[in-house]
């Protein structure tokens, strides 16, 4: 952990065309303060990797609606009509990935693996153009790792070291993206002194920055 930072320091890390992983599942556990901070800058042409398209007014969906996303890699966009429209109009590229495969691809990058073999998507259009490998008589798809320049982590309870635990279902993709990105920034929902070592999900050496609480800015 390099430190607790304010919004402007975070904004200085942004640049056009970067790849950003955003935590949250239908905006539950999304880093809303960081998303707002991105929207305050003119950054554009982002590749966003996220479980879903969120909603038009919550989660990663806000970046889509604002036209900042050039390419979205997600498992589902049904809750954000603008995402579907932008795709149909050719204004945003969308790559749909099965949710479990998305989780494993992100985990693979964080874990230094060259990929994983999954049965998910076999004999569907998800398999098109991908390597199929038989293992013990069953066919699997080779799915490659997925990483990013920046991870925006939500839903976290942070301690003063920068360790992260998560609250309820807000855990979802957040611990996975923390490990798969060059820079991981957390937007905690709560801060505590020191987390129980048994309760920590993302140890602080895996976190680069934690956004300060509002009153700390």
């Amino acid at each position: 952990m390099k430190g607790f930072i304010d919004k402007s320091r975070f904004q200085s890390m942004l640049h056009d065309g970067m790849t950003v992983m955003i935590g949250g599942f239908l905006a539950n556990g999304s880093p809303e303060r960081l998303i707002t901070a991105v929207l305050e800058t003119p950054v554009k042409d982002l590749t966003v990797i996220c479980n879903d398209g969120g909603f038009e007014d919550r989660g990663a969906g806000r970046l889509i609606v604002a036209g900042r996303v050039k390419k979205l890699i997600a498992s589902h966009i049904g809750t954000n009509p603008t995402a579907g429209r932008l795709m149909q109009e050719g204004k945003m590229e969308i790559v749909l990935v099965p949710q479990g495969t998305l989780a494993e691809r992100i985990r693979a990058r964080g874990a230094g693996l060259g990929g994983i073999l999954t049965p998910t998507g076999m004999n569907t259009i998800v398999a098109e153009g991908k390597t199929v490998l038989p293992v013990n008589g069953k066919d699997y798809l080779l799915e490659e790792p997925l990483g990013a320049d920046l991870a925006l982590i939500g839903g976290a309870i942070a301690d003063r070291y920068g360790n992260l635990a998560y609250r309820g279902t807000m855990r979802n993709f957040n611990p996975l993206i923390a490990m798969a990105s060059s820079i991981a920034v957390a937007d905690p929902v709560e801060t505590v002194a020191v987390l129980d070592p048994e309760r920590i999900v993302t140890p602080y050496p895996l976190v680069d920055y934690v956004l300060k609480e509002e009153n700390g800015q």
């Binding site: 599942f25 966009i77 949710q99 479990g100 049965p119 998910t120 807000m170 855990r171 957040n174």
Partner: protein, 216 residues
């Protein structure tokens, strides 16, 4: 008279066994929980990271179900991340998954996530669920305004190939076997002939009984 959704959900509830770990999809599958015999201890898994999903919660919540709606966790439940959630799903640890579909076919393949050029919601966790769960139950209306959804071969892009075990509609219960679809139960409001008419796929009809759990 019960509506179509209630008939389907009530019938599927009978399929869930004591001790089962079950994942219910969005829509009709979600209400299956409402019809469960309280004497059965069934545990619900939700792909956003819960085992022990409980009833919906009122007001804003840090805990949502896979539809993003505020929910609760029952005693004994646990939270985990999406990689663990899909390890549980893909790894064969979920006993039953119940999900909707646009089309199902004679081979047990299903289509549920894309109507090319028209609607592309995405597959979410469905592709993993149908590949991973021990038993896959499709919950859907028998037709789309009279147009059959149970086909010889799916026309829409597949969610998975040959993974469905059981199809439950407001008209019928259909089992998927290696030799094709077997009509096993028909709702008392319909005849076998009506079900066959509303189904594009050929149906084996040699052992049909009235739909279980339906109060006549």
């Amino acid at each position: 008279m019960m509506d179509e959704k209630a008939i389907i959900a009530q019938r599927i509830a009978l399929e869930l066994q004591d001790g089962d770990l079950v994942n219910l999809g969005i829509g009709i599958p979600t209400i299956v929980a409402d019809y469960l015999d309280p004497a059965k201890h069934v545990v619900f898994q939700s792909e956003n990271g819960i085992i022990g999903l409980g009833p919906l919660a009122e007001g804003p919540s840090d805990l949502v179900n896979a539809g993003g709606v505020g929910a609760t966790i029952v005693e004994g439940g646990a939270f985990f991340d999406s990689a663990m959630s899909f390890s549980i799903i893909r790894g064969g640890h979920v006993d039953v998954t119940v999900l909707g579909a646009l089309e199902v076919d004679s081979e047990g393949s299903l289509a549920s996530w894309i109507i090319p050029g028209k609607k592309v919601p995405g597959m979410g966790g469905a592709m993993d669920l149908v590949v991973g769960a021990k038993k896959v139950i499709v919950a859907m209306t028998h037709t789309n305004k009279g147009i059959p959804k149970i086909l010889s071969r799916c026309r829409l892009p597949l969610t998975a190939y040959r993974e469905v075990n059981l199809i439950v509609t407001e008209m019928a219960v259909i089992e998927v076997h290696p030799d094709g679809l077997h009509l096993t139960e028909v709702h008392p409001d319909y005849t076998v002939e009506q079900v066959v008419q509303a189904t594009e796929a050929p149906l084996h009809v040699d052992r049909v009984v009235p739909m279980k759990g339906v109060a006549c």
